[in-house]
């Protein structure tokens, strides 16, 4: 009677796990216990919006950056145009001032020439008049 305890355990396990038939009338009793007509359960479903910013955030950020860049560019262009206009106006005014100065000098010298021609000189003053 020297039995191996391991074999005994295995035999016991097989015996316990062997398929057995259901008791007589089990199926009928189970079916009788179920409700006659089972109503479907309606589970309310509301899709949850994930607060993740990943899908929407990057395009929005890009669009915002683009908008800022465009607005900044427009502002810079406007500023440059304004500066260019002011520069041109300053140059134009300076040019017109110099033009008037040049005409004044011209007039003064013409005045000098024709004054000398129109007013006869005193004796020995003018050497050559034409």
């Amino acid at each position: 009677m020297n039995e191996d305890p391991a074999n005994h355990f295995e035999d016991e396990l097989r015996r316990r796990l062997r398929p057995v038939n259901a008791p007589e009338g089990f199926t009928d009793r189970l079916m009788a216990a179920l409700p006659a007509q089972q109503k479907p359960v309606v589970v309310p479903f509301t899709p949850r919006v994930r607060p993740s910013s990943h899908p929407v955030g990057i395009p929005a950020a890009l669009a915002a950056s683009l908008l800022v860049a465009v607005l900044f560019g427009v502002r810079v262009a406007d500023h440059r145009a304004l500066v260019a206009e002011q520069t041109e106006q300053r140059k134009g005014l300076e040019a017109s001032r110099k033009l008037m100065q040049a005409l004044h000098v011209t007039s003064q010298k013409l005045d000098l020439a024709f004054e000398a021609v129109n007013n006869p000189p005193t004796a020995g003053d003018e050497e050559n008049r034409s």
Partner: protein, 193 residues
């Protein structure tokens, strides 16, 4: 082929001054060094483009500027060098002579020449006449402490020039319009050159 290209380049180089400067325009030195020595200076170098820009900014309501605007509308260049000094003859006479020599070219007529030994001053007025139209005006005026070179290029309307003089308080210029038959009032002067 190379000889032909060389000929074309040589022709362009030789004819350079002719197409580079409009008729009536003198080669006036910049006198850059004199600006520092001068007590007062006016240096104006206006080609047609600059004249156009300057004219745009002249007022139409100011009578003086309005007349100037009308005068410069037919001009293609105004070149003025005017320097005043604190000492006598601080300017290079040679450069002035260089400009005067250019006025010996055909077409230029000296209409006024005044030399005052008492004041050591010299004023000459030249006109470049092309056909019936004056295409250029040059004034060379020198005094011990001041010299002026004026060169006006373009279709010069003498009536407008007279108007300009009157406008700036200068006596009426006794130059007849070339179209008028009585023009040779100053013609003998041109023969003095």
């Amino acid at each position: 082929m190379n000889a032909r290209i060389g000929f074309v380049i040589a022709a362009l180089v030789l004819s350079g001054p002719a197409w580079a400067a409009p008729r009536g325009q003198l080669q006036i030195p910049e006198f850059a060094a004199l600006s520092e020595k001068a007590s007062e200076s006016v240096t104006v170098t206006f080609d047609a483009q600059m004249l156009g820009m300057a004219a745009r900014f002249l007022s139409n309501t100011d009578p003086e500027q309005a007349k100037a605007k009308k005068l410069v509308s037919s001009l293609t260049g105004i070149y003025v060098r005017n320097y005043s000094f604190d000492t006598d003859y601080a300017y290079p006479k040679g450069d002035i002579e260089g400009v005067r020599r250019q006025l010996n070219a055909p077409g230029w007529n000296r209409i006024v020449g005044v030399v005052s030994r008492k004041e050591n001053s010299n004023v000459e007025v030249f006109v470049l006449v092309d056909g019936e139209k004056a295409q250029g005006l040059a004034i060379i005026a020198s005094e011990p402490r001041e010299f002026t070179i004026v060169n006006i290029v373009g279709n010069i309307d003498f009536e407008q020039l007279q108007d300009l003089e009157g406008n700036f308080g200068v006596p009426e210029l006794d130059i007849e319009t070339p179209k008028k038959p009585a023009a040779p009032a100053k013609k003998p002067a041109s023969g003095e050159k």
